[in-house]
């Protein structure tokens, strides 16, 4: 282990102590810095990485225990050692309670100091080694941008890797926020079409006419406002992959049009008479139960079978709780780079809260919760309060520990709606789902914009 990587900050109001200790440790090859008071120390702890903090207990202004307390939040991986001229059991106990690594009485026995520093350095080297090993392991748990160690998701990765090699149509089934588009992109990137375009269309976001034009393009003068010929998504995806999200929401007419493209591998632009040949791989996705929609007559059976060549079911996050620590680590790293903000970990209390949450918005909701937490966290550790998760209140909500998932979901959506004051966009963002999905869920659970239940008389009209 390189000793230069060990950075030691000495905090003491006595110059002679700072200088003599720094000079002694400098000869071991460590990188040394000193701070004459608590304020300066905290400034340096906020701005730089430290391996060891040697902090004097009694200092004017911010004392050693206050520095220690804040350092535990700002840099939990740094080993803080409290130094004092007068050893009392009370202060020693308090320092250890606040997370001090050790407690030294001035003047130190050189052997004791030397052994303690060596011990800290070896332990930190082990931690670093552990982080490296975990990174290697994390590579094993990845499929492009998807990350999981749960057996269910590992099976999805295996299937997706195999499916990527062919050009067969894939149907991805899963709740909102489970990563259907991320999986589609991963399959595309792994496939022989990886160098070609990946084009995504959300079928629920557009009206029938708009979607038709969006998918197939149109000729000049096909309809009012069609001032020129425009390519559709099918043509744009030529040689690549077309991702049709929320396929369960398309109209019967478009279902038929789509079926024809899938069968003939050709289509007509809106208002056009010349067929256009396409070489596109289709990946469709939905959060709806398509089999039920077929049974109800809402979705064409022949189209269902055309799409359902390789079905892939993405499990919801609540069924893969084991992945939460891995995903948290992944998002902290990812968001940290995106936001230019360093947060190292979540506290154990916060992790417990994350593991206990029901995640109706799945991985997307988890990402949003962490993004919010990274913005509001004051140090380099996310605390439970930073998450903004509401604690379940069984009495008020009637949601006990054995409530059904539907009940919990309804209750959670109602809470978020109420919290957002009826602002649907904001509520959808908080839940990590899109507005259309939120509207569907509000309809399903008969909830008003303000989170209150719909009045009975309204439901009957």
């Amino acid at each position: 282990m390189s000793r230069e990587r060990t950075r030691i900050l000495i905090v003491d109001d006595e110059e002679i102590v700072r200088e003599s200790l720094a000079a002694w440790l400098e000869k071991d090859g460590y990188t040394l810095a000193t701070a004459p008071d608590g304020e300066t120390a905290l400034e340096r702890i906020r701005g730089e990485r430290w391996s060891i903090l040697l902090v004097d207990l009694k200092m004017p202004g911010i004392d050693g225990l206050q520095v220690l307390e804040q350092a535990r939040t700002l840099q939990p991986e740094a080993a803080a050692v409290i130094m004092t001229a007068y050893a009392t059991v009370d202060t020693a106990v308090e320092a250890m309670k606040l997370g001090a690594y050790d407690y030294l009485v001035k003047p130190f026995d050189p052997e004791e100091l030397s052994l303690m520093i060596q011990k800290i350095v070896s332990q930190q080297a082990l931690v670093r080694e552990n982080v490296l090993l975990r990174k290697v392991l994390k590579r094993e748990y990845r499929f492009r941008d998807l990350i999981s160690k749960s057996p269910g998701m590992q099976a999805v990765f295996d299937l997706a890797r195999t499916a990527a090699r062919s050009s067969s149509t894939i149907l991805i089934l899963g709740e909102s926020g489970t990563g259907k588009e991320v999986l589609a992109r991963a399959v595309h990137a792994e496939s022989p079409r990886g160098q070609g375009p990946f084009v995504a269309v959300s079928c629920a976001a557009l009206t029938e006419t708009l979607l038709e034009s969006e998918l197939f393009g149109h000729e000049k003068g096909a309809f009012t406002g069609a001032v020129g010929r425009r390519k559709g998504k099918f043509e744009m995806a030529q040689g690549g992959t077309l991702f049709l999200d929320e396929i369960g929401d398309i109209s019967p007419k478009l279902q038929l049009d789509l079926l024809r493209v899938l069968e003939d591998r050709r289509f007509f632009r809106v208002g056009g008479s010349e067929p256009v040949d396409v070489d596109v791989r289709i990946i469709a996705a939905t959060n709806k139960d398509l089999q039920k929609a077929v049974a109800d007559g809402a979705f064409r059976e022949d189209l269902y079978y055309r799409l359902n060549v390789i079905p892939v079911h993405l499990p919801p996050l609540r069924e893969r709780i084991v992945d939460i620590p891995l995903l948290v680590e992944h998002f902290l790293e990812h968001l940290g780079a995106e936001m230019n903000r360093r947060v190292d970990e979540v506290s154990s209390e916060a992790m417990s809260a994350l593991m206990a949450h029901s995640w109706p918005g799945n991985v997307r909701e988890l990402r949003n919760v962490l993004e919010r937490a990274m913005v509001v966290a004051s140090g380099r550790v996310i605390q439970v309060a930073d998450l903004g998760l509401r604690r379940a209140s069984p009495d008020a909500a009637g949601v006990g520990p054995l409530a059904s998932l539907e009940h919990v979901e309804k209750h959670h959506i109602a809470l978020v709606l109420a919290d957002c004051g009826g602002n649907i966009s904001q509520a959808a963002r908080t839940l990590g789902i899109d507005r259309a999905t939120l509207y569907n869920k509000m309809k399903k659970y008969q909830l008003r914009k303000d989170g209150e239940p719909e009045p009975e008389e309204h439901l009957t009209t």
Binding site: E14, I16, V17, S20, L21, A23, W24, E26, K27, D28, G29, K106, P107, F108, D109, P110, E111, L113, S114
Partner: protein, 185 residues
């Protein structure tokens, strides 16, 4: 050419054999000139009555002031028990990449209840003096236990090391000399 001056500044009589042996070792290990200096001055303000020990840092300051003008590096050898403010004791202290070093025989003479072995004391003192001189040339502690530049905080560690530099420290020393940043002629 760097010349290292060895100066007995203790209260007791100087061990001339020790100084002669050390002079030869300094030349052998560092390939520089060394000579014994027989000045009669002694540091007067280094004693701390509260700790009943001598401040090695004050002695270093005094050595810089009192050294002969033509000396490259100056090494004070003493029988006084030394301390730095934060530690209970030190065997010696040196300016890293500087001119002065001081080494004490006070704690190296411990015989664990047995009759003091003068040869052993000499051996330990030579090692600690070579170690401190190494610091003045810019060398830092070595993790190899047998290297003279390894940190020793007890006599077992002093006895475990050799009088010379390990191959890595020898290489580092050659680099430092080549850079010329620690030449004090």
């Amino acid at each position: 050419m760097v010349e290292v001056f060895l100066w007995w500044i203790g209260s007791g009589a100087a061990d001339e054999d020790l100084l002669t042996e050390l002079r030869a070792e300094v030349t052998r290990v560092f390939e520089v000139g060394a000579r014994c200096w027989h000045g009669h001055e002694r540091p007067l303000d280094s004693f701390d009555p509260r700790r009943q020990q001598h401040s090695s840092t004050r002695i270093l300051r005094w050595l810089i002031e009192a050294r002969p003008r033509h000396s490259g590096k100056i090494v004070g050898l003493t029988d006084a028990d030394l301390f730095i403010p934060i530690l209970t004791f030190v065997y010696g202290e040196a300016q890293l990449g500087g001119r002065a070093a001081v080494v004490s025989t006070a704690r190296l003479a411990s015989d664990n209840g047995f009759r003091l072995d003068r040869a052993l004391l000499r051996e330990r003192t030579v090692k600690e003096a070579i170690h401190e001189i190494g610091h003045t040339f810019g060398l830092i502690h070595c993790e190899r236990r047998t290297c003279v530049m390894s940190r020793s905080v007890n006599l077992v560690q002093v006895d475990a090391k050799d009088r010379g530099l390990c191959p890595d420290c020898r290489r580092r020393y050659a680099e430092l000399r080549e850079q010329g940043q620690h030449e004090h002629e």
